[in-house]
Amino acid sequence: MSLDEKTVRKVARLANIEIADEDIERIGTELSGILAWVEQLSEVDTDNVEPLANVVNIELPLRKDEVTDGDCADKVLANAPEETQGFFVVPKIVEQES
């Protein structure tokens, strides 16, 4: 079974990925394969089993509330295609209000 075109387009849109019309069927088939593969996990009986967050038995590390980082606008902006006065510059984002 292949994911239908509508679902493929929705997944692509949510992932912000552009796909060509001729690729939709192929991607649908691939995604279906991946889903079926992951679906095998549901064959395992997990009733009464606590979800496992990690297998190494450690606690979440925490840090003190101290300023130890930042003040490196040059590094942060180094890969920006466009910048001005310390800002990233991007194509205009406009809320599509009705």
């Binding site: 979440l60 300023v67 006065q85 510059v89 194509p91």
Partner: protein
Amino acid sequence: MAKLIQGETGEWEIVIGMEVHAQVITKSKLFSGSSSVFGAEPNTHVSLVDAAMPGMLPVLNEFVVEQAIKTGLGINSKINNTSIFARKNYFYPDLPQGYQISQFEDPIVGEGVIEVDLPDGTTKEIGITRMHLEQDAGKSVHDQHPTKSFVDLNRSGCALMEIVSEPDIRGPEEAVAYLSKLRMILRYLGTCDGNMEEGSMRADVNISVRKPGDELGTRAEIKNVNSLKAVQQCIDYEVPRQIEILEDGGEVVQETRLWDPAKNETRSMRSKEEAHDYRYFPDPDLLPLHVSNDQIESIRKTLPELPDQKKHRFMDEYGLSLYDASVIIAEQARADYYEKVSNDNDSKLAANWVINELLGILNKNETPLSKSPIQAEQLGGLIALITDNTISGKIAKDVFAEMYKTSKDAAAIVEEKGLKQVTDTGAIEAVIDEVIAENPDNVAKYKGGKDKLFGFFVGQVMKKSQGKANPAAVNELLKKKLS
């Protein structure tokens, strides 16, 4: 009391729930060591973690956890021993990760309740559904260039608490009362500064209407509500809009709407609809957060006296009305000031002077209490002079005005200007005799049955004594002399 709105088809009930984002007071961000201070040059308070460079990992700020627990306890809520950070996925240029780290199914704070004070002098309990921690996004500036937007990530990754209420709010007054009380609690706790103008506290207001007793109606979520006034206004706009749609046989669309304070209206933000599929999942970079009961209890011990505890104590201990108590507890500094004024004095009289006279003149001059020219001890001194009959209440107002001008003590002003009340019977009698001698006609008329003239004599005596004669003594002596 629930406020019902009269429509063409009968009465409607307003149902409101609120989501409040409160920025946590910290030095550094939720998951990185860059500064969380407001107002720096663009992109200077940004680390490679906040900019979401590949390979960067979030490390949780332990102080934010303490602040969240403190807040949870302050809103009488259950603190969850285990909570989980989740990714909320959406694309926006001021969100470099492509997801916001938030909490979804397992927030750090669970159900609770806060008591709100309504304008009619009653209180109401509003349920808290949950409170979770999440990252703030950066800021986009749209008005600097015709075809470009500018992005500053200084806010990106700052710690926010999202406090979600139950749909227990029944009208604009209750909504305003809820938000003010919540802000008051956060300020008392020192977990959020509550400055709505600077955006460190923001509200989303979920509004629906229904016929009393019906199921909940479809709601609209109003965003960009950034002041107490805006809360009131957006409800006043949105409720009639929904009632009109329903009464015309239409249906309210479940949607996000934007409050426009310039045009005084809400309008649809259709672009947000599609993005509502957030595909939350547990963040694989962060293990579950565990907090022990010992930790919770040790934080509980650090809580200050909270607004409602103070309010009830002032009502019980000082005999204040709910209204007076709720005005005085609105700010911690105000409550402290009041307690100093009240100290050995009549507590209710102290409340009257603080609320009506002091706050009155401070508000008029737009002066904060911290800059008051009259210190609490000095106001207490003035009240002591009234209570022990050194000066009358009327003279006290003049002394107060002088204190406000000069910052001098009440006793010094009374001494300097010779304002001490005359209670000496002989001195008052002498004045009365003078007045009687000067007004033989009126004395005759009074004795002839014109009782109303009594007020005239009191006025004359007070005038002659420059307001210093004790009014009770004047009354008593005049009656004797004129009979």
